[in-house]
């Protein structure tokens, strides 16, 4: 919530930590809204998902962040996800609203 805190840490259930830009995390409305609470002070958000899932999600968030501007020109690469994670990822993506 402070402008000086630029990064947040996403922590997976198996304790993998991903330190990402706050702006990037804000792409997910769920992560954005959680900033107002305790997570806002510690800068840590614990998520109930495995490391590999969270990695995919972080990748997507950065993909979204990077290509947001270019999306209108239609010139962006595809985002690929591993097939075996698709289902689980769908559930989590639904949860994070991304």
């Amino acid at each position: 919530m402070d402008s000086e805190v630029e990064y947040v840490t996403l922590v997976s259930a198996d304790n993998h930590k991903f330190i990402i830009l706050k702006e990037v995390a804000s792409i997910s409305s769920m992560l954005k809204s959680s900033q107002g609470f305790q997570e806002g002070e510690t800068g840590k958000i614990s998520l109930d998902m495995d490391g590999d899932i969270l990695e995919c999600i972080v990748e997507y968030l950065y993909y979204h962040y990077k290509y947001k501007e270019q999306a209108e020109t239609g010139d962006i690469p595809q985002f690929n996800i591993p097939t075996h994670l698709a289902l689980e990822l769908l559930v989590k993506a639904d949860f994070l609203d991304i």
Partner: protein
């Protein structure tokens, strides 16, 4: 015979073949030239007419190309003369072309007129010949200077000639050039691909934007759906989305359908069941006994036995929508309605010829009084006017909220009287009315039915009602506005070809503040003047002067025909400005009056408009000024 005479600027009519050949770069230049050479000595006086066209054809290209192409050929030809005697003749031809091209270019520079035949032998020609003889005679193995970087290098067969710089380049420069060219080609491909994505997105009425992770996942899952054993807890919204995508891909089958069935479901929708067989339909009933609402489209394999099974197992079913259940027999329908018809609140059936007169009577008898939604579309088995006429007798007053009677077997079985009778009974509660393709309906249906009995109507669809007239519709909506205060949310008057300016004006006047969806497809009588006025502010000079003109006209010959002081419709009319603050989707395809100017005005008066279809309006071009957020679909320049 000289080519000079061709600059007369005359070009005769072209056949399609000539046009094609020209586009493909095929001309009769060689033949003509040979001929010319053959007769060159004999006659120089007459310009041949066939050549006139040829020159004009070439002119556009050669002016540009001649400069870059003449020299390589010159060198090459001299080289080849040495190397390969067999090609000499061909090279001669090429040389001739080039010579002609140069001459033409020079001609064009001079203004290209007033040249006479003798000029063919003018100094230009000999100059050119001299050039060939003296210049650019570098042979392979000799040293040359790179025209790009200036270094000296050995000329080889592989050395590359740069047309625009008129010289050879060294190996290094060639490499960089190759890379650059490859990039350019790649860019071109990408641009093409991008255009394609855009055009595709336009067709899907969606914008090109970053896909949601959920959509990426769903796409992945649907691509690998055969490997999925169970979907788990992915949320009902995603389940529905997935099932819709599978339906769209036609990959909903006996295996995949079971992924969507679970006992807690109250509502099931499958939009394309064409690959689902009879056993799976039974599975729906046995896996999901609590279902209250069942929608099965394209359910061609739904069998009598399935329906029988539903009778006993789906005890809570209240809403049933079926599209294409043509295996269910007339007698089975009756049996089914007798057993479980009393529970129905909503019933929809489309596209089956086996749903006959007796089936409908049975439905009405058993559930008619409770129905809140009745949709009957394309039922060719229902061929009796008398049976349709029974509908109003079974409906309870003011219970029906949705009614669709569309595309009846023959035109005359759905009449004005039928609709008026139905609306008289249940019009008060009706929110959605669809009478697409009931072509025998006329102004009376609107005037005495809709305008009188439907205070709460929000959706009106009346495609193909070609008997409805402009005046009738206008009058009906003026009266309707006294009954219905809310306004309509969606209106579809596709191909009601009788409608024109007045009708649309009174529609917009009544519902402009509420309209979200509008289709005026194929209303070819609507004029540009109407659009211009309706979407221009009343305070502009254009509108004021129009008003004055009409007042003057009114003084001269008083008109009593229209309301609002509008003039006679054959003369000038005045339409006040209409804003459509909520309109999001508008189909005005084949309303030919819509052009770039109107598109601009529409954008300004409809701030929420996101999809505008203009198929067939060939005056809508890429030059139109379109506001941000508005997607205009169907212009000729939108190409894949």
């Amino acid at each position: 015979m000289s080519r000079r005479s061709r600059t007369s600027g005359v070009r005769g009519p072209n056949s399609a073949l000539t046009e094609f050949l020209r586009n493909a770069g095929i001309t009769d230049a060689f033949r003509a030239r040979r001929e010319r050479e053959a007769t060159d000595g004999e006659s120089t006086a007459n310009g041949s007419d066939q050549d006139v066209q040829e020159v004009l054809e070439e002119e556009g290209d050669t002016v540009v190309e001649a400069e870059v192409e003449m020299i390589p050929t010159r060198r090459r030809s001299s080289r080849r003369n040495r190397v390969n005697e067999a090609e000499v003749e061909e090279d001669e031809e090429i040389k001739q072309i080039k010579i002609a091209a140069i001459k033409k270019r020079k001609m064009a520079k001079r203004g290209g007129n007033g040249d006479d035949d003798d000029e063919f032998d003018d100094p230009d020609f000999s100059e050119f010949e001299d050039e060939i003889g003296t210049n650019g005679m570098k042979r392979f193995g000799e040293e040359d200077t790179c025209v790009d970087c200036g270094t000296t290098f050995h000329l080889t067969v592989y050395s590359r000639f740069l047309k625009e710089k008129q010289g050879y380049i060294c190996e290094n420069c060639n490499e960089t050039l190759k890379v650059r060219e490859r990039k350019a080609r790649k860019n071109q491909l990408n641009a093409r691909k991008r255009r394609r994505t855009f055009a595709q997105a336009l067709l899907n009425k969606s914008e090109v934007k970053i896909p949601k992770l959920q959509d990426i996942c769903i796409k992945k899952i649907s691509a690998n759906i055969s490997d999925v054993d169970a979907l788990g807890d992915i949320g009902q919204v995603n389940l529905n989305k997935l099932s819709q995508i599978l339906s769209k891909n036609r990959s909903l089958n006996d295996d995949t359908i079971s992924l969507f069935l679970n006992p807690s479901l109250k509502s099931i929708e499958f939009w394309d069941c064409s690959n689902v067989d009879s056993d799976s339909y039974s599975k729906i009933a046995s896996f999901c006994p609590n279902v209250e609402s069942l929608t099965l489209f394209m359910c061609g394999q739904l069998h009598n036995d399935n329906l029988k099974y539903y009778t006993t197992n789906l005890k809570n079913l209240k809403n049933l929508s079926l599209n294409g259940p043509f295996l269910i027999s007339d007698s089975m329908w009756q049996e089914y309605f007798e057993e479980s018809g009393s529970r129905f609140e909503k019933f929809e059936i489309r596209n089956t010829h086996r749903f006959g007169n007796d089936s409908l009577i049975s439905l009405l008898e058993n559930s008619g009084s409770k129905l809140s939604s009745l949709k009957l579309s394309r039922l060719d088995g229902l061929d009796s006017e008398a049976v349709y006429d029974l509908i109003p007798h079974y409906l309870s007053p003011s219970t029906l909220t949705e009614l669709e009677i569309s595309y009846p077997h023959t035109e005359d079985i759905v009449t004005n009287d039928l609709l008026i009778n139905i609306l008289a009974i249940t019009g008060e509660s009706l929110q959605s009315l669809n009478v697409d393709g009931c072509t025998s309906l006329t102004d009376r249906f609107l005037l005495e039915g809709v305008a009188r009995f439907c205070p709460n109507l929000t959706h009106l669809s009346m495609k193909l009602l070609d008997q409805v007239t402009d005046e009738g519709f206008a009058q009906a909506f003026d009266e309707f506005s006294k009954v219905n205060n809310g306004g309509l949310l969606s209106v579809d008057v596709t191909k009601c070809i009788g409608l024109s300016d007045n009708a649309i004006y009174s529609l917009l006047k009544h519902s402009s503040h509420t309209l979200i969806e509008l289709s005026l497809n194929s209303l070819h009588q609507v004029t540009k003047d109407f659009f211009l006025q309706v979407f221009t502010d009343d305070l502009t000079a254009f509108k004021k002067s129009r008003l004055e003109m009409i007042e003057q006209q009114g003084d001269d010959e008083p008109e009593d025909e229209d309301e609002d002081g509008d003039g006679d419709h054959k003369k000038l009319q005045y339409f006040s400005h209409v804003r459509l603050p909520l309109l999001t989707t508008w189909d005005c395809g084949f309303v030919r009056a819509v052009d770039d100017e109107i598109l601009d005005l529409i954008g300004k008066s409809c701030p929420k408009l996101s999809i505008l279809e203009v198929y067939g309006n060939n005056k809508c071009t890429s030059k139109a000024n379109i506001v941000d957020g508005l997607m205009v679909i169907g212009r000729q320049n939108d190409q894949i």
